[in-house]
């Protein structure tokens, strides 16, 4: 009864939080502004950016690994007090700018136009930061593909297809949307071209109706038509694309890549297919905040284009990863624990025990995110493998290490007298462990084990780092389309919370049932 009340309270608190956050949004501007001022008062003077010359000393937001990042990084060490905030997504940088956490955002022109259009209270400085060329990225050792892609690009340019695609996305207002690229109906005997992109960069690549689209993607489709290849688009973090291409996980990187000397060291570039520029977005004090009401935001975040499906699909994937990872974790974890206790009690399994110990040390000594990246980019480097499988393996192996130690401590916590009583009755080691020690150990470790699975469920939220769409990534995709962080993040948080509460309740019931045997 008491527990029911607690859960109800928690739920109410969660809802209240959601409501408060929603209301707080309209005043977020002023709150954030105040916060900024106090911070600036102690650190640096108020810094308004009105031209490129104002950049030194400002707090600049960029998307990690973009050319904007590369350019402004020069200011960081010149003693001007410049702070560069690197975000995983352009949209996050823009969000930070809106909240006054940074002074400006340096980003490619076309995404900047979209951001400003979708977000009130922002403007682009007329003075551009730099001009730059966009090209596709191909692995160093893949000269053959480079030649083929360049050949296809040249043909497309000659036929005018390239221009049409460009006009369709970044042309004059009357032209945009008028020239959608239709894939040609051709034979595709030459295999699959795996295209790595970061679909958070409109109009070059972004999600629409659940699929990745954009200018770069249309060009890639046109190139595939020319080469007689199937296309497979892999969405991943921007800074993962170069490693993915050079490790062979993907054949080509198409994500508005600017040609830079630094990048040339790691990969080849195709011929330039378009030019762009880096621009500076700043807050526009004069503009009236074109605020959306909460219901509009709700509509945009979830209802429009069935965007809630990103969350539904993501949730499905999160649940699948967690369930299979838990199964691997339990099976392997118990196995390791049995080996370790057997070694401690009987001195057997010397070699296996050493292997297990090394495994535990490595897995528990490194962050799960690094393990996930290593498994995907290093261990399965040259294998085409389903990302779901990679995530299940990574989280399963990680969880096993923690389960193993939980189980081992649970076994050790059972009084040794229980073991001796079993053995003295003539039961074998295995019978004693199975019928006497384990049932008691399981009861001891159930709460800890459940906590491990709850944290596993939450840890899967980093699956997006290998471009797998779990619940968190689903929310991120919505965020990258709507430029509104509030509702998608809260919705994702709420779903996690509900799952965890459900799990906790289930385990409490189970625990009570087990405990009812003993008082």
């Amino acid at each position: 009864m008491k527990r029911k009340k607690q859960i109800l309270c928690l739920l109410l608190a969660g809802m209240a939080l959601l409501g408060a956050a929603a209301c707080g949004q309209s005043t977020a501007g002023t709150e954030a502004g105040q916060e900024t001022e106090t911070v600036q008062g102690t650190e640096t003077a108020e810094h308004t950016v009105t031209s490129v010359d104002d950049l030194p000393g400002a707090r600049i937001g960029v998307q990690l690994g973009t050319t904007g990042d590369i350019y402004v990084s020069d200011y960081e060490s010149d003693g001007s007090g410049t702070v560069v905030e690197r975000y995983n997504k352009g949209a996050d940088a823009v969000q930070a700018l809106k909240q006054g956490k940074i002074d400006c955002v340096v980003i490619d022109e076309q995404p900047a136009l979209r951001f400003v259009e979708q977000n009130g209270g922002l403007r682009i400085l007329e003075e551009e930061f730099t001009l730059e060329d966009y090209a596709f990225l191909i692995a160093k050792d893949n000269e053959e593909l480079l030649e083929k892609v360049n050949g296809a690009l040249a043909e497309l340019r000659e036929e005018g297809v390239l221009d049409e695609i460009k006009k369709n996305y970044v042309g004059a207002e009357s032209e945009v949307g008028k020239y959608p690229y239709e894939s040609a109906d051709v034979e595709r005997p030459n295999g699959t071209l795996v295209v790595a992109t970061n679909a958070e960069f409109p109009p070059y690549e972004y999600y629409e109706d659940g699929a990745v689209t954009g200018m770069d993607m249309d060009i890639m489709r046109a190139v595939c038509d020319k080469l007689g290849m199937e296309i497979k688009i892999e969405d991943m973090a921007f800074d993962s694309i170069i490693p993915a291409v050079s490790s062979g996980k993907a054949d080509i990187g198409a994500a508005g890549f600017t040609v830079t000397e630094e990048r040339k060291k790691n990969a080849n570039f195709s011929d330039t297919y378009t030019t762009s520029k880096q621009v500076i977005i700043v807050a526009d004090e004069d503009a009236v905040q074109a605020g959306q009401t909460l219901s509009e935001k709700f509509y945009n975040s979830f209802i429009k284009d069935s965007r809630y499906m990103y969350l539904v699909k993501g949730l499905g994937n999160t649940i699948v990863i967690t369930i299979f990872a838990v199964m691997i974790g339990i099976a392997l974890g118990f196995l390791i624990a049995v080996v370790r206790t057997n070694h401690d009690r009987n001195g057997g399994f010397t070699v296996l025990n050493a292997i297990c110990k090394a495994y535990l040390t490595i897995v528990r000594g490194t962050p799960v995110m690094i393990q996930l990246l290593i498994i995907y980019y290093v261990i399965f480097q040259s294998v085409t493998i389903n990302k779901l499988v990679v995530a299940v393996i990574a989280f399963g192996l990680n969880s096993a290490a923690y389960v193993a130690e939980i189980v081992r401590s649970g076994i050790m916590a059972v009084d040794v007298g229980q073991f001796e009583a079993g053995r003295s009755l003539g039961l074998t080691y295995r019978q004693t462990m199975g019928s006497i020690v384990m049932p008691q150990a399981v009861k001891n470790i159930l709460p800890a084990l459940c906590n491990e699975f709850i944290s596993l469920l939450k840890e899967t939220s980093i699956s997006g780092y290998i471009g797998f769409m779990d619940l968190t990534k689903g929310g991120d995709i919505i965020r990258s389309v709507t430029y509104d962080a509030l509702l998608p993040l809260l919705a994702v948080a709420l779903v996690y919370l509900l799952m965890v509460m459900g799990l906790t309740k289930g385990v409490n019931l189970l625990e009570r049932k087990l405990r009812s045997n003993e008082r």
Partner: protein
């Protein structure tokens, strides 16, 4: 009371822990129907000796022969042998997650000695014998210490052992519960069960045992009938010990 069948025999039994020798060569013979009380100061090795008899402690050197089988021979299936050697612990070691009935039935059923029905019948019989029939479906945590120890004794009896080892069976009990446990042990002894008992209950040793062994510093210091050991102790160390405990 005892006939001449040898149940257990130890030959020059030695045991060391981390280089520290606890048993320094113990040789003795236990015959059918013997009730052997092991007495001695704490740390003298009497519990280690007892636990070596069913190989809960693996002897460092020497031999333990049970009904002629050398248990220190690695090819011997120790689990088979232990089915015939019951053991009762100071801390009872009942299985807390099982009912009393399940505690008694577990080993005979698991080891295929009895069917579930037979084991159940046996459990009922054994519980009736110690007057705890009403506790069959209770859990150990619901019983007093004396009741738990009596259950532990009948749990070992369920396997029909040829000998039972008692490791300070009354040391963890409140004084008023010692009597009920000793009464059960006395009854067992009267029925002819072979028993080895590590005990501090000198009254029990004197009254029930037919042999008393005084162990000191890892060796058998003195051995004999209760009358000999308690009535005319020979070694100064035994005299000193008895003056303290009697």
């Amino acid at each position: 009371m005892s006939d001449n069948t040898v149940i257990l025999e130890t030959k020059n039994l030695r045991k060391s822990f981390d280089g520290q020798e606890v048993l320094k060569g113990i040789t003795t013979t236990i015959k059918k129907g013997d009730v052997l009380a092991l007495i001695g100061p704490s740390g003298c090795g009497k519990s280690t000796f007892l636990r070596s008899l069913n190989l809960l402690e693996i002897p460092t050197d020497g031999h333990v022969l049970f009904e002629g089988t050398d248990l220190t021979d690695r090819s011997v299936d120790i689990n088979q042998v232990r089915q015939k050697i019951g053991m009762v612990f100071q801390q009872f070691n009942l299985f807390p997650n099982m009912t009393i009935r399940e505690n008694i039935m577990l080993a005979p059923v698991k080891l295929g000695k009895l069917t579930r029905e037979e084991a159940e019948k046996k459990a009922v019989e054994l519980l009736a014998r110690i007057g705890l029939s009403d506790k069959a479906d209770a859990y150990p945590a619901q019983l007093s210490g004396g009741q738990k120890q009596r259950i532990a004794i009948v749990r070992s009896l369920a396997m029909n052992p040829d000998i039972i080892l008692f490791d300070e069976p009354t040391s963890a009990l409140d004084p008023e519960m010692v009597g009920e446990v000793l009464a059960v042990m006395k009854e067992l002894a009267n029925d002819g069960m072979t028993m080895v008992v590590v005990t501090h209950e000198m009254g029990f040793a004197r009254e029930v045992a037919n042999r008393v062994m005084f162990i000191n510093d890892g060796v058998i210091q003195e051995e004999g009938t209760p009358e000999e050991v308690f009535g005319s102790p020979k070694s100064p160390r035994l005299r000193e010990f008895l003056s303290k405990v009697l």
